[in-house]
Point group: C2
Chain length 530, copies 2
């Protein structure tokens, strides 16, 4: 049975934070912000939210997979950023699309794009709708909008076990991909926090990254070929393990955020499911020492599945530490052989950098137990956005900023972002906490992930958020980071993206867009244009 999506919050209906969870969060926040005006304000029911009547009617040929049903329009009206959730709770669905189209094959996708081009309609491609950067928000204004859901395309079509690759439709969610592969003994091994909701096509369009810390962290390297429908024809690359023939067509679609075409399917590289696991936690006197250890591990050639460094506050909040030091969560996994030796080698590197920790129950293969720990961790990881929604309801401003930076600039970026964000929080919220973890480690750098928690002023959340976001984004760019390691650009990161990208590349991309989408049908205003 398909679970229903929550219309006005993260994830699935009925899975929002329980009263016990809300209670626990309230107490936790109250300790840190004793003067905050906490307490759940009831959300406006989506049934009561105002929505403008649709301005367009699909041509008869498209009626079978188009709808202007109120719930469908509201479900596709926004992504799930902090400001989206604030607005949704108020019954503010913004500019809901006039029509939601859910084509079932590439021909129907092309028909939707043709209709949009002919009728001057904008088209917003939509996978799981989990964007936290305004990537699926319909453009406001006079132009009607069709949101094109890829959820009519959700099958694992074929598995090539010889080449370890699978052809998967773009609308398949994480569980749908994994269910389709599991019966063949394979996994895509790609687990973003939105895993249960987001789709392969969305991952490709946004250059998403999964939670694995090293190795092929991004979807980019897992893609063997991509098929997309553009407003002017099918863009389908050859399945190849590698090619030297001109610039990679796939790499131009990867990260294109729906402005060049609607990804309809891809061949992806799959792996046998891991059989061996080993994990441990290592304490460090401070975040800097932990980061030096992460760098040593990344330089060693070891490729831990998990290498997540929590600063003292994050360690405390995650139950991994007492708040006095940083904690590194290390985990290895393999389908081929035990990984205890790798874990020991990594632990030795950590000890060289002042880390303290033992392999739990240090007695050979961590096998099943390591698997349970990993599964527990993943469940908590997937649960976090539901708790974020609960915090919003309590009147807490909560947001995450993520980036990547080379190691030589890491310490400076870390302190600059913490400082700038804390100052902004003090100025606009009167108080606030900024924490950091390292989520991904590369030989040449790392991805720091910042979390902000502060008392919000009811009704002023969007302005407060904007001030904090501006401070963090500016600090990230000034310190040499990217405006996003894996959350994409969307509408929220546009100003920094424009600063970050090489200017001739911006012109090249705009020209490429005009060549394949001459009527600017696809996601206008994202990455390019007004």
């Amino acid at each position: 049975m398909t679970r229903r999506r929550a219309v006005a919050g993260w994830g699935f209906a009925g899975e929002e934070a329980s009263p016990a969870e809300v209670d626990r969060l309230t107490r936790l926040v109250a300790v840190r912000f004793p003067d905050a005006d906490l307490g759940v304000r009831p959300a406006v029911a989506w049934q009561d939210a105002p929505v403008a009547p649709p301005r367009i009617t699909p041509p008869p040929a498209l009626e079978g997979y188009c709808t202007s049903d109120r719930e469908a329009r509201l479900l596709h009206a926004r992504g799930r950023s902090y400001t989206d959730v604030v607005a949704l709770r108020r019954g503010d669905f913004g500019a809901a699309p006039d029509v939601v189209a859910t084509p079932r094959d590439a021909t129907e996708v092309a028909a939707v794009l043709d209709w949009c081009a002919d009728a001057g309609i904008a088209c917003v491609p939509f996978g799981g709708g989990t964007s936290v950067v305004g990537g699926v928000t319909p453009p406001a204004g006079e132009r009607p909008v069709v949101t094109l859901s890829t959820r009519g395309l959700r099958r694992v079509v074929e598995v090539d076990a010889v080449s370890r690759a699978a052809r998967v439709q773009a609308g398949a969610t994480g569980p749908e991909v994994e269910d389709g592969l599991r019966r063949h003994g394979f996994t895509l091994r790609f687990f973003p926090q939105s895993f249960e909701l987001s789709t392969l096509g969305g991952w490709i369009a946004t250059r998403a990254a999964g939670h694995y810390a090293t190795g092929p962290t991004g979807i980019d390297d897992l893609v063997e070929s991509v098929t997309a429908v553009t407003p002017t024809g099918l863009w389908s690359s050859r399945r190849l393990p590698r090619s030297g023939a001109g610039p990679s067509p796939d790499r131009l679609l990867l990260g294109s955020e729906g402005i060049l075409g609607v990804v309809t399917e891809a061949w992806v590289r799959v792996l046998p499911r891991p059989q061996y696991r080993a994990a441990a936690a290592v304490s460090f006197p401070d975040f800097g020492a932990g980061a030096a250890a992460v760098r040593a591990v990344a330089h060693s050639g070891l490729t831990p599945a998990n290498c997540r460094l929590l600063d003292p506050t994050e360690a405390l909040l995650n139950g991994a530490g007492d708040g006095t030091g940083a904690v590194l969560l290390l985990g290895f996994e393999s389908a081929r052989a035990p990984v205890d030796a790798e874990l020991h080698d990594a632990m030795a590197l950590c000890r060289d950098h002042g880390g303290a920790g033992e392999v739990p129950g240090d007695k050979g293969s961590g096998g099943a137990d390591g698997g349970n720990t990993a599964q527990r961790w993943r469940r908590a990881f997937l649960r976090a956005p539901y708790l974020r929604d609960a915090l919003v309801g309590l009147g807490v401003l909560t947001e995450t900023f993520e980036t990547a930076v080379t190691w030589d600039r890491f310490a400076e970026l870390h302190s600059a972002v913490i400082r700038a964000t804390a100052q902004a929080l003090a100025a606009v919220c009167g108080d606030g906490v900024v924490t950091c973890r390292l989520t991904h480690a590369y030989p040449d750098g790392a991805a720091p992930y910042f979390t902000v928690v502060a008392p919000a002023r009811r009704g002023a959340e969007a302005q407060q958020w904007a001030a904090v976001k501006r401070a963090a984004g500016d600090a990230i760019l000034d310190a040499g980071g990217t405006i996003t390691h894996h959350h994409a650009v969307g509408r929220d990161h546009r100003a920094w993206y424009d600063r970050q990208r090489p200017e001739p590349f911006a012109r090249a991309l705009a020209a490429a867009k005009a060549a394949v989408d001459p009527r600017d049908v696809l996601n206008p205003g994202v990455l390019l244009g007004g």
Copy 2:
């Protein structure tokens, strides 16, 4: 002291095949082609070759780094493909550039492009000039041509040991890159067969691959950021370990073959120099069994530095076998720890697939000895193109075709290409040998590399070559391969490239080109256009 380049052949002057080497080659070829008209015909001295007078004169401001010197023009008149060498030996330098510019910084590069744009001149970027696909050939016709050599930019500018990255100018050759890194204990670990001559900028422009069999085989993954001068401004990306902000600007330059901009420098990821090595040779009853073993190794998660499968004839010619079976050359290396266990694991997989072989002197670390073997192999590898030139002089048609294909189509592609090429050789040369090796192994496929040796008909080499090339290229495309795994497109692969790339991508690339190079200054006719 700088070695002088050979004006009319591969590599450096004075390093062409010795009389003893030519003798050995002659005997080898005569055994297989007893009726062939072998024997060295003297080449026309480049000093006697005709060349049209230059049609343009550089503006005074550019005189310091521009020349119309005859030797310079001839040195930049052609790449080093089989047909180039045939023509060069005849004194046919084709359309030599009118001027060779060797700018010493990005400002001077921009000045050259400005001049070309203003004066209607075509500009061909030129690194080591080792293209085997016509990638640096000046376009014939009325339009004057400036060849822009990047050899005025050849320094390792800085090394960031903390991030393990280096800023290197685009004109640095392999040895110049490695010399600059060695004093810091690092290596780029990138060794194409043209290593001694080709340049970082050329590798980036052509998406080159080195000789390592697995892991990051291509330059693509070693690039952290790229700076290029376009006719309309500087294209310079941020140094980042990973980014999710829009499509990768670097990936659009990678493989762009000089049509978008002149790469002037890049930050590349570097590694500590390997300390541990282990190598072995494994025999297989046939090529198919060996390929199955290569696939098993690629699937295992092991990442051998060398995993080169030679078919029976190649094994014989390389002194690695007796011609009755295929031979797999396996090698591992690491900067961190001994790799004997990895070699043993790979050997076990090979035995599972019918392989027979022992680790030489199986007694712990292969350290220094493995290093010597690897160095010997690399010397022979770098020497091969000089021997190719000698074969051309003997009247032998010799060419290589390379591709990559997913494993599910590998066997079919292999036999189809062998069949089609052998048929073409029989038709146009009356005889000929086609051999194959696997040079690169990926979890989802492999890169087969075909070598052709046949008796040429003096004076008809270009037509013979074209017929054989057409048969091989068609067979590769029809069997699902790429027209090139690492030799690039140039002018020779253009027809197949046009078939291979997605049509909307071709339009996107043409539009991107027009946006950054509106007067079509850069490498006209390569990848796009006339």
